[in-house]
Symmetry: D2
Subunit: 294 residues, 4 copies
C-alpha cells in the first residue's frame, strides 16, 4: 500500500473539499489525514491531504485526471509519493551540532531523506561525513572567489538533483541570485528568536540586551537576510549567570531541534507558503516514527 500526499492552494470557494474528496474516493483512495486553512485575510485556501491507494494509482494518472478539477478552481496542486525521498544537501561551516543531529535522525530513518551531499567551506566535518558514506564537498569561500564558490555549489545541486538545501549553521551569505533560483528550497537555522537579533553574533546581541530567553528560528532563505518565511521557532531560558559562551551551548539544543522540526515539516509537505508567512500543518499520525531502531 502506497502513501501519497496532495497539496492544493487556490482562492476560497464553496465545494473545494467536496471536489477533492470526491475525486479521491472515485479513484479508490482512502483519505488518512487532512488539514486545511482558509486565510480570511487574503481569501486563499490551503489544503494537504494524505491518502492511500488500494487500486495502484500512479501520480501521473492522478495528476492528469485532477486537472479537470484544478482548472475549475484555479488550483496550484501537487501529488507526492511519500515513498520517494527528497534529495537533500546539507551545508555547514564550523559549528557541527545541527549536522551531527541531522545525521543521527537520518541514520535511524526519523528524517526519511536522501542526503546526497554535505558541502562545507571548512574541512572539520569531512571525516564524520565520509564515515556516513555521504559525499563531502569542501568549497572554501573567500571574498575573492565568492561567485566561483557559489557556482561550484550550484554544480553539486544540479548534479545531485537536490530538492532541498539545508543550511545547518552555514555562515556564508548566499547571493540574491541563488536565493531566487532556489526559492522555497533552502531552509536556514538562525540562532536567534527572529525578528530579534538578525545578522552576526545574535547570542552576543541577546546578551547585551539582557533578554531572559534565547531562541532559534528556522526559515526559508530569501534575498533579504534573516527575513524569509519562518517555519519554526523555539526558545531556552537563560539567566544573568550565563555568558554569551553559555548561550552558544544552551542554544545548540534549541537550534538542532528547531531545524529538524522544520525539515520534518518540509519533507512531509506540511509547509505551504502564504506570502512571507508559512502554513505548517500538524504532523500526520505515525510520521515522526523512525524507520529503524537506534
Amino acid at each position: 500500500m502506497t502513501k501519497f500526499a496532495l497539496t492544493v492552494t487556490c482562492d476560497s470557494a464553496r465545494g473545494i473539499v467536496a471536489a477533492i474528496a470526491g475525486f479521491l474516493a472515485e479513484h479508490g483512495c482512502n483519505i488518512t489525514d487532512s488539514s486545511q486553512f482558509d486565510d480570511t485575510e487574503t481569501g486563499r485556501f490551503f489544503m494537504r491531504v494524505s491518502f492511500t491507494s488500494e487500486k495502484g494509482a500512479t501520480l501521473d494518472k492522478m495528476s492528469d485526471d485532477f486537472s479537470a478539477i484544478s482548472s475549475g478552481f484555479g488550483m496550484d496542486f501537487a501529488f507526492h509519493d511519500e515513498a520517494v525521498r527528497m534529495k537533500v544537501i546539507i551545508m555547514v561551516s564550523r559549528f557541527g551540532h545541527c549536522l551531527n543531529d541531522l545525521l543521527y535522525r537520518w541514520r535511524i530513518g526519523a528524517l526519511p531523506i536522501d542526503i546526497v551531499a554535505v558541502i562545507s567551506n571548512h574541512m572539520d566535518y569531512q571525516k564524520v561525513v565520509v564515515n556516513h558514506d555521504i559525499p563531502f564537498h569542501c568549497i572554501p569561500v573567500t571574498k575573492a572567489n565568492k561567485p566561483d564558490a557559489e557556482a561550484r555549489i550550484m554544480e553539486v545541486v544540479d548534479a545531485t538533483g537536490a530538492d532541498l538545501i539545508v543550511l545547518a549553521r552555514y555562515m556564508q551569505v548566499l547571493s540574491d541570485r541563488m536565493c531566487q533560483q532556489m526559492s522555497g528550497k533552502i531552509i536556514n537555522i538562525h540562532h536567534s528568536f527572529l525578528p530579534s537579533f538578525k545578522g552576526a553574533n545574535p547570542y552576543k546581541q541577546a546578551y547585551e540586551r539582557g533578554v531572559k530567553l534565547i531562541g532559534a528560528t528556522s526559515h526559508y532563505v530569501t534575498a533579504d537576510l534573516d527575513e524569509g518565511p519562518i517555519i519554526e521557532q523555539d526558545i531556552a531560558r537563560v539567566t544573568h549567570a550565563q555568558s554569551p559562551a553559555d548561550y552558544v551551548s544552551l542554544g545548540r539544543d534549541v537550534e538542532s531541534q528547531v531545524l529538524a522540526r522544520a525539515i520534518h515539516a518540509h519533507i512531509h509537505r506540511r509547509v505551504m507558503l502564504n506570502g512571507n508567512k508559512t502554513i505548517v500543518f500538524p504532523a500526520s499520525p505515525g510520521s515522526y516514527a523512525s524507520e529503524r531502531m537506534g
Copy 2:
C-alpha cells in the same frame, strides 16, 4: 452568517470525507475548518467540520437530511450552532483561582458560555459570584448528607438545563451514579500530572517524591477517581528550594490555564471521546478571540 460545527464518529471507510463534504456543498455550506483522525488501532474515524451557511440552513433540516449519509456509514453525528452557548455550572470549594480565572474569561467573551450557576460547598465565593450576576448555590457536603447534597446539585443541573459541569477545584468526590448520569459532561482539574499523584494532596506527594516539574491535568470525570479521559495537561518547573506551599502557588497558574484550555476545546466541540482517551482537534481560526475588549 451563522457558524456551525459538525462532529462525526464512525468506522473508517473510503468515501466518508467525500460524502460529508459533498453533503455540505449541496446544502450551500462553506467549510471553513476541518480536522479528522483515523485511529488505525481501533479502526474508528473522527471528524469535526466548521462551516457557514449562506442559505439559512437550520440544524433540524440539516440533521434530517444528513441521516441518509449517516446511516450508510453508521455514523454518530451532531450538528451544532456556534451561536448557541453551552450552559455551564461551575463548582468550587475553597481554592478560587480557577473560578476567578474562568469568570474573567467569561466576562470578556473569551469563553463563550452561559454560566447558569456556581455551586459551592462553602460560602467563600458567594459575594464574587453575585457581583457577576450569576446565581450562587451553597450546598454544604458532609458525610451524613452526601446523597441529599448531590440530589440538590442535580436539581440545579436539571433546573438550569446545564450542558456541562466544571469542577474548578471542587474537593468533594461525586457519586458513581452522578458520574455515569453526566458522563462526558463533567470536566475536572486535578493538580498533578496524571497518572502521577492521584487523590489527596498531590503537591505534597510530588514534593516527597522530589519531582522537578509539577503539573495539572484536566479530564472528564468518571466513576474511577482521577482516571477519566485526559483533555489537557501542562507543567511548571520547581526546584529543591520550593516547599509544598510554594507548589500550591506555582500550580495555580498551571491549573487555571489547563482547565480553561480544556473548557475551550470542549465548548467548541473539539474534544471527542475515543475509549478512555480523547481526541482534541486544533482550535479553529479566530476561536480564541474574545468578544469584548477587557
Copy 3:
C-alpha cells in the same frame, strides 16, 4: 522571628562574602538563603542575603553597624524587613486581565504588597477596584492635558508614598521626567518578546512577520520606550490558524504571569540593576507560598 534581606553591590574583591557573613553571625543572625553574582565583564559583585535575627536586630542598628564594612568595600547596600510590604500603585487602561490577575494574587497574599491605589485613564475598572476596597483614581489623558494628568498621577504617588508603580497594560507613554524621577520603580508589561515588536500593536506586528511564538516582556520603564532593563519574559506557541485577535487572547495568560513573576522578584528584592540588564536571583524557599487559602 523576623525575616530580613540584605542587598549589596560593589566592585569584586576578595573577602566580601566573609565580611558580610561574619557581620551577620556577630549580630546573631542566621543566613537562610543567599545568592551572589560576579559579573566578570564589569568587575561588579552583587549579593542578596536572607536572614533571621534571634536577637531582635533593628534595621537602623544593622545599617549603622554595617557602614564599617560597606565603606571598606565601597558597597551600595540596603537592609529590608520582609514584614514591611511595598506600597504599590497599579495603572491600567482598558485591558484588565493583568489587573484581575494581580488583584487575585494580592487577595490571597501570594503577592505580599499593599495596593495603595489603582489609577486608570478609563472608568472600566472602577467597580472591581472599589469592590476590593482599594482607592480608584480615574485620570483621563488627552494630548492637551498630558502634563496635568501626569502631575495628578505624581500627586497620588506622593500622597500614598508608593514604592512601586506597575503598568498593568497602561497604554499611555510616561514622560521622560517621570521615568527618571521613578527610575527602577516602574515595572511595565509589554505584549511582545522584546526587543521584537516595540511600540504599538505588537500582536499585529507579530502576525504580519509570521512568527511561531508570541511573547511578553516585563521590564523597568526608562525614557527609551520598551528599552528598559528586562526582568522576565515568556512565550506562547501560535500557528498559522491564529489571528491577531487570537494572539490577544493567548497573550493574556503570558502577560499576566510574566508581570506577576517580575513583581514577585522585585518586591522580594531579588532584582538588581546591572547597567541596562537585570540580575534576578532565585526565589527564596517558601516565598511563593500565599498567606491565605484561596
Copy 4:
C-alpha cells in the same frame, strides 16, 4: 589560576557561611559563585562554593586545614579541582541517541569529562565509539550469565577508576549489589515522567493512558527500580495523532537533553543528595560554555 569547588553538608547552625567564607578568605581564595539551601523540614544545610586561589592552594592542604572548621559543625565536605575531569563510563543498549548526543557534547568540551569506556550488551555502536578513540566493551547479558556480566562490568569500572556510570538507555536492570556499591554514582535516563510509567515500555503505557505530555527523567540508580532520587525532568507535547512509535521519536530529544543536563549538574558538583531527593544548584557562570568550537 585554578578553579575549585567546595561542597558542604551539615546540620543547620548559625555561623556556617561566615566560617566557610572566612576560611576561604584567609587562604587567599576568591569566591566566584555560591549557592546554599536550608532544608527547614530536616534541619540540614547544603552549600556549594566555587572559588579560585591566587596563592596556589592545594586540595590536600585545604582539606587538612578545613577539618578544624568541619569538625566544629559536623560537616561532610569535599574540595574539588575543576580541572580534574570525572572518569565516566557510558552504558548503552540498542537506542543510541543519548550516546550520540553525549559523544558530541564531550567532543566539543561541553561536557568536560573523560569517557574511559563505553559498555554495551550489543555490538551496534562499536564502530562509532571506536571512531571516537574510546575503548568499547561488548558485554552481552543473558538470564544465565547476568552475575558474570556484571562482574565484567565492575572489572571495567575498577580498571578505569570510573567516578560515574551513565546509563544512556541501557536496558538491563543492575543488581542491588551493584546499585549499592555505586550508590550516587550511577545516573539513568528513564523515558517517562516519573513516577508515572515505571518499568518497561513507558511510551506504550503513556499512549494507553492518553496523556497529553510525555516526559523523561534522569535519576540516580538505587535498588528500587525507577525510584531513585530525581535529578532532572522535562516533557514534550503529544496529541491524539501520535502513535507510540511517534512518542519514541519525540521522546529522543527530551531524553538526550534531560540526561545531558543531569550529567552537567553532577560533574560540576551541583547535585547534592537529600534523602531520596536531590538539591540541584544553578550552574555557575560560564559552566555551560564548551571548550572548543563545534
